[in-house]
């Protein structure tokens, strides 16, 4: 029966769709994002909004779908709270602009010259602080929690990227 399905190449399912966490996340994500995008589409056609706020809305929905699809993790709850509390502000705080990144890297290099003599613990702490900033909710976590949450965050980010890419891809080609 499965062979028939596979041979058709139209429909592909995993045997245990709910067990594989990656597939679970992706499915949830898509199921959250696509309706939201449709809604945005409809709203946009009805009212004229400028491009920037539209982008923000889309970004908001993207982040929201992201947070909703990964409820098992602490960072998703923090992200959700952040999104709900500031719905239409500029949410590009989750990613840093290139200039900020350059600043940070130059600071690090400058700092490292000083700290060649200092303990390695100081450097590690610096980086942990940065990691805290990157991870939603990172400020409230200690080192161990950050490390465990970062793993899941990274994987979910990768999955999200794949989804977004393929959605974009499907519509550009």
């Amino acid at each position: 029966m499965e062979r028939q399905i596979i041979n058709k190449r139209k429909r592909v399912f995993s045997l245990q769709p709910n067990k594989n966490p990656n597939a679970l996340f992706t499915r949830r994500y898509v199921s959250h994002l696509v309706p939201a995008l449709k809604k945005i589409n409809m709203n946009k056609s009805s009212s004229k909004t400028n491009h920037q706020s539209f982008e923000k809305t889309v970004k908001h929905e993207v982040d929201m779908a992201f947070a909703l699809s990964a409820q098992e993790f602490a960072w998703s709850r923090f992200l959700q709270q952040k999104l709900l509390s500031s719905p239409h502000d500029d949410l590009i705080s989750t990613s840093s602009s290139p200039s900020e990144i350059l600043e940070r890297s130059s600071k690090k290099q400058g700092g490292e010259k000083h700290q060649d003599r200092d303990e390695e613990g100081g450097e590690i702490k610096k980086r942990l602080k940065e990691l805290q900033k990157l991870l939603p909710g990172g400020e409230e976590m200690n080192m161990e929690e950050i490390l465990s949450e970062i793993g899941s965050y990274i994987v979910c980010l990768e999955l999200q990227m794949i989804v977004l890419k393929s959605i974009v891809q499907d519509n550009t080609s």
């Binding site: 592909v12 995993s14 594989n20 539209f54 940065e130 793993g151 977004l164 890419k165 393929s166 974009v168």
Partner: protein, 341 residues
């Protein structure tokens, strides 16, 4: 890991001093005796094993309760008592090597303890302090004996379950079974020679090991971490990678916003299923968050999707560094159905 420990122990046995060898032989003899006793009085074995596991701890109450139960056994059990720490598993054998040497002197105190339950607390304290002191001395003198310490918190409240399981096994089986079961409940830490065995440093070491485990996991996830050594460098890579991913997501969402009006969102069904196909294949190669996934022979379909994505990615994604580009290209290369870094 257990087998390794056991084999190490046997190796160390060969190289040990005679005093220790003798001691261990004595211990094993006692162990056999204990087995006989235990088999005779099967009722008491849970309590016995309770004591066996307690001995390494500083738990007053439990010691007290278990000793009070031991009063029943009578004096004939007395001389055999201190070896009794034995047996169920190999970990306890090493406890024996520590505790037995301690208790060769204060056999009297133990006998007294067995007979009168009232002085339990005082004597229990005495017995506790002696092994602790002795272990530090032992560490310096003995060659490769590994000493085990167990933390208090993990001891409380779980012993009955474990005891019944342990008591039902033979000595050979329990070397694996009970210690595995115990490992789930205990925080099992082995102190190596020259390292402190006080509780603080043990807890710290356990914490450090946890952290290093997590770092290893992250190393597998984040591409390019293998070349970098040291926590700081790895954290750097991780930070860069997270930033890169976040930027990409942002970029893609912008692109999505641009495309949105023309978006044919009816493709959602197809997308979902493509993802499922992709992930059932790719996921198997990833570690942790992973569960067993049946692999479908979906190679061609999967690669069709992703080869389409591939050229798009290299052109459209705003400049990650060169290393990222090559890595992310290989990331989506499905020739071998896995994430390759």
């Amino acid at each position: 890991m257990l087998e390794g420990l056991v084999s190490q122990e046997s190796l160390s046995l060969n190289s040990m001093d005679m005093s220790v060898l003798e001691r261990l032989k004595w211990v094993q003899q006692q162990q056999q005796q204990l087995q006989q006793v235990v088999s005779q009085s099967s009722n008491n074995s849970p309590e016995l094993l309770q004591i066996l596991q307690f001995h390494g701890s500083n738990n007053d109450e439990l010691l007290q309760s278990s000793f009070s139960q031991f009063q029943m056994l009578g004096s004939g059990f007395g001389p055999n008592y201190n070896m009794g720490f034995g047996p169920p598993h190999e970990a306890m054998d090493e406890c024996i090597s520590r505790t037995s040497s301690c208790h060769m002197e204060p056999v009297d105190t133990i006998e007294v303890l067995l007979k009168t339950g009232e002085e339990n607390r005082a004597i229990a304290l005495k017995n506790k302090r002696k092994p602790e002191v002795k272990t530090r001395g032992e560490e310096k003198t003995e060659k490769k004996i590994k000493i085990e310490a167990e933390t208090e918190s993990s001891m409380k409240g779980r012993l009955n379950m474990r005891n019944t399981e342990a008591s039902s096994d033979t000595s050979k089986e329990t070397s694996k079974g009970a210690s595995e079961i115990q490992k789930l409940d205990y925080i099992h830490v082995r102190a190596r020679r020259g390292q402190a065995t006080d509780r603080h440093s043990l807890a710290e070491r356990a914490r450090r090991e946890k952290i290093s485990k997590k770092m290893k996991y992250l190393q597998d996830i984040v591409p390019g971490c293998n070349k970098v050594t040291g926590k700081a460098g790895m954290l750097d890579e991780i930070i860069n990678y997270v930033q890169c991913l976040q930027r990409q997501v942002e970029f893609l969402s912008m692109k999505l916003a641009v495309l949105n009006p023309e978006l044919e969102l009816a493709v959602e069904d197809v997308s979902v299923k493509q993802f499922q196909a992709y992930f059932t294949n790719v996921v198997a190669s990833k570690q942790t968050i992973m569960v067993d996934v049946p692999l479908f022979p979906l190679d061609q379909q999967g690669s069709l999707d992703l080869s389409a994505i591939n050229p798009n990615q290299t052109t459209s994604i705003e400049a990650p560094s060169a290393s990222w580009e090559t890595q992310s290209q290989s990331l989506y290369n499905t020739s071998s159905l896995g994430f390759q870094y």
